[in-house]
């Protein structure tokens, strides 16, 4: 996978065929997730998508303000899922219609590229929340993790992390 700047504020992502198949599989999983009813999600995932505006018990004088802010955040998070679903469906459609898939190339604006990495990160966080993955888990050699589902999730989180860093590469790595 590569990411190159084609114009100021425009980027081209290129994926080999296996990479493209993996990314499209992830996008399809995300599409299903973005459509899922919050009430049907496991509690940890539901909390992730509802978002908590604050931690701990707020001061009595802040309770009303924070309740309003919580409602604003929950509404914005719900809209975000709809917007991301539209983007994901668009990219999947582009892949299905692409005449060339090796490499598969996608051109994105800066804002779309940010959404792309944020969505890959959504998938990483979904996996972590679903399985309660901890910092200790992330520091272990995945080969030492005996539970297969957990090991596969950690490996997927790692691979997606690599894709995120390659996508942002031009901006986060020094020459």
């Amino acid at each position: 996978m590569t990411c190159e700047s084609i114009d100021p504020g425009h980027w081209r992502l290129s994926f080999s065929e296996p990479e493209a198949a993996f990314v499209v599989h992830i996008l399809a999983r995300l599409a299903r997730h973005y459509q899922q009813d919050l009430m049907l999600m496991p509690p940890a995932l539901r909390a992730y998508w509802e978002g908590r505006i604050t931690r701990g018990e707020p001061a009595p004088s802040d309770k009303k303000a924070l309740k309003e802010s919580q409602e604003v955040l929950a509404e914005a998070r719900a809209e975000l899922r709809v917007e991301r679903l539209a983007l994901v469906e668009n990219w999947i459609s582009e892949f299905e219609l692409a005449e060339q898939r090796d490499p598969w190339q996608v051109e994105l604006t800066g804002a779309e590229r940010d959404e792309f990495v944020a969505m890959l990160n959504d998938r990483r966080l979904h996996l972590a929340h679903e399985l309660g993955i901890t910092e200790e888990d992330m520091e272990r050699d995945p080969g030492e993790v005996t539970d297969e589902a957990r090991r596969n999730s950690i490996l997927e989180i790692d691979v997606l992390g690599h894709l995120i860093l390659v996508t942002l590469g031009p901006q986060i790595y020094r020459p």
Partner: protein, 150 residues
């Protein structure tokens, strides 16, 4: 097979895997296939004072000062980012630069604070602005909250 060179310690907020010193800037990491990747080219500029090129307004200096004071006193909400086991260190720095318009040094400092102390106060704003920042940070997957700030 992904054509990504091994990047030790790309997992978030875990310096052990990175073999780097937190007191210095993040290290250079080579990425395979980077022949087509342009060198570092920041598009996000550090926050600066108002540009002198801004058009002049007819507002009197006294009103401007009063509005600035009012705005300063209204900035009563702190935005806090909390540590988590999954987000990548370089990704967090990128998000701080993008959302909060921090320069590289400040973004790295806040990222390390999150990692080492478990949280970092990244902005102090009006309630509405703090809500927006929390939403944008959460949109990138960072665990951000807000609380009133004396």
């Amino acid at each position: 097979m992904l054509q990504v060179e091994s990047m030790p310690g790309v997992r978030i907020l875990t310096p052990k895997r990175r073999d780097i010193d937190p007191s210095v800037n993040p290290p250079t990491v080579a990425v395979a296939g980077s022949a087509t990747v342009t060198p570092f080219s920041p598009v996000v500029r550090p926050a600066t004072a108002a540009s002198p090129a801004q058009p002049a307004t007819e507002t009197s200096p006294a009103i401007v000062v009063e509005e600035k004071l009012k705005d300063a006193f209204a900035r009563g909400w702190a935005v806090i980012v909390w540590n988590d086991p999954v987000n990548l260190m370089d990704y967090v720095v990128y998000v701080f630069k993008t959302v909060l318009k921090m320069n590289e040094q400040d973004a790295s400092r806040h990222m390390w604070e999150v990692h080492q102390k478990g949280k970092s106060l990244v902005a102090r704003e009006t309630r509405e602005k703090a809500e927006l920042i929390v939403h944008r940070l959460r949109g990138f997957g960072l665990n951000a909250t807000m609380e009133s700030s004396p």
